[in-house]
């Protein structure tokens, strides 16, 4: 799509590509070795004798240790690499300036409470280039608040407040970016259709929208 990829997602993608490449190399090595063995050591005519237990010789165990240490090195390096993403999973935003949205999931919709008392249903409108902190809970069963294009999610659990934060991409002018929000936890019959839209607009457009929402509140309808 033409709209920008969020920071969290791009971090995620970079790390995933790295890990996936290493994984595929490992897979290729193992499978390559296996296929080579199958071809090279396939049974030939008249050669059916049993190969004696090689493990009686010394050093086989040492080989396995070597393999293990290699994989340890790979994994540890991956862990180190994964630290660059961890901010997305941490509970406090690295950036102090942030707006807090109360996300209340229930069967089967998401309710978004804005700081100034505005409430919207299944429709989240955010200003561009802002760090947004979601305060996620549920009123009935477990749900999962999954920001698809942002590649982050958190469980909505009754009685608990789980925190998730993202940074919306910068928006200029009148163009709007729209993203999907899914529920990832089987939460009953309506699970399939439990989703919401997230629209990122420019700051002025956002302020304007918020004002209109306030108007509807004061006029008693909506909310």
């Amino acid at each position: 799509m033409s709209q920008p990829i969020p920071v969290s997602a791009s971090d995620w993608n970079h790390f995933f590509d790295l890990a996936a490449v290493i994984a595929l190399i490992a897979l290729a090595i193992v499978m390559g070795a296996m296929i080579y063995f199958i071809v090279r050591y396939r049974e030939r005519k008249g050669q059916t004798k049993f190969i004696p237990d090689v493990s009686l010789k010394k050093g086989r165990a040492r080989d396995s240790v070597i393999f293990a240490s290699i994989s340890i090195i790979i994994l540890v390096s991956l862990v180190v690499a994964s630290y660059q993403l961890t901010p997305n999973a941490r509970f406090e935003p690295a950036v102090s300036k942030s707006m807090v949205i109360d996300v209340t999931a229930y069967q089967w919709a998401f309710n978004f409470g804005y700081p100034n008392g505005v409430n919207t249903l299944d429709n989240l409108i955010l200003p561009g280039n802002t760090t947004v902190m979601f305060n996620v809970t549920s009123t009935d069963v477990m749900h999962n608040f999954y920001l698809v294009q942002f590649k982050v999610s958190i469980e909505a659990i009754p009685g608990r407040y789980n925190i998730l934060w993202i940074t919306t991409p910068a928006v200029n002018g009148n163009d709007t970016y729209s993203y999907n929000i899914y529920c990832k936890e089987l939460c009953g019959v309506g699970h399939t259709y439990m989703d919401a839209n997230m629209t990122v607009v420019s700051q002025p457009a956002y302020n304007q929208w918020l004002a209109s929402q306030n108007a509807t509140i004061s006029s008693g309808t909506g909310g």
Partner: protein, 84 residues
């Protein structure tokens, strides 16, 4: 001898009941009481279930089980400390 152990256990039980009526920090009393009852449990296992006279290797089984329970408890404690 077993009668002696039995007496000891009974006394320990009474001691527990007395302990809870003492004045003092509830958590501390709770700790004391639990220690006493663990002692009682171990005594029963050691003598009535005569683990003490069995080969030491048999003790692996119950100990492993208790360790498993402790695992579970630790994990529960970890998740307690979150969110709320």
């Amino acid at each position: 001898m077993y009668v002696g152990i039995w007496l000891g256990l009974v006394v320990a039980t009474v001691a527990e009941v007395v302990t809870r009526s003492l004045a003092g920090a509830a958590s501390l009393l709770a700790l004391i009481i639990l220690l006493i009852s663990s002692g009682k449990a171990i005594t029963i296992a050691m003598y009535y279930q005569h683990l003490r006279y069995e080969d030491k290797r048999l003790a692996i089984l119950p100990i492993a089980a208790v360790v498993g329970v402790i695992f579970l408890a630790v994990a529960a404690a970890m998740t307690m400390s979150m969110g709320m």
